[in-house]
Symmetry: C2
Subunit: 124 residues, 2 copies
């Protein structure tokens, strides 16, 4: 494993946030579809509730934010990015919100996100 | 609650990574001691293993990296920063590594960090 950073950025089990945020995301066909914009974290419990993918628009203009369960992101060293096992078309129908829009991170919306991706919510 | 960002950055339960990374940290006496440099995340499980505090040095030069259990960070809106219930002196004796040094994020070192802060490791 080659580290671009002198600090460990990735081990078998762990990954540093600077290798996650701003990192490219590829769909199941290997198309570049966007990047990880930010993570939404639990204050208590310390879990990653969602990774927020920016997707759509053109050259970063008009793109929307797609909350994803963390489990959907699979880091691929050869791509230096994340793969998700979702097609672009499936993603287009997923829960999202406009970049400049306030999203309601409540349990019901959270459930909708996890249900869409068929990931069991960690909080139930 | 006032949000500087049009997106929700903080709710009762959740906090966005852009409000965490780069954010000031204050010790138990309210002294500014550094900032959150990055988070170290579990690839599987999706937990925050550590928050890495940069502390020491002068104007960001020569500061070291101090891994902290996430539970140690308490966001204080009035400070727009995190408080930790640790003194500067206690922190000086804590496990740390040089900014340009590779840290071994193994279970034994992890245990040392959690033990130092008297936080029960989440993985046991």
């Amino acid at each position: 494993m080659i580290n671009k950073d002198p600090n460990v950025r990735e081990t078998h089990d762990l990954i540093a946030s600077d290798l996650v945020i701003g990192t490219s995301v590829y769909d199941s066909q290997g198309n570049h579809i966007g990047q990880v914009e930010k993570l939404i974290l639990e204050k208590r419990g310390g879990r990653i509730s969602y990774a927020v993918l920016s997707f759509g628009g053109f050259l970063g203009v008009g793109d929307d934010h797609y909350p994803l369960p963390w489990e959907k992101l699979d880091y691929d060293e050869s791509l230096a990015g994340f793969r998700i096992d979702t097609t672009k078309e499936q993603l287009e129908g997923a829960p999202h919100f406009a970049r400049d829009q306030e999203f309601n991170w409540d349990a019901e919306n959270g459930r909708r996100v996890y249900d869409y991706y068929e990931v069991r919510p960690y909080w139930i």
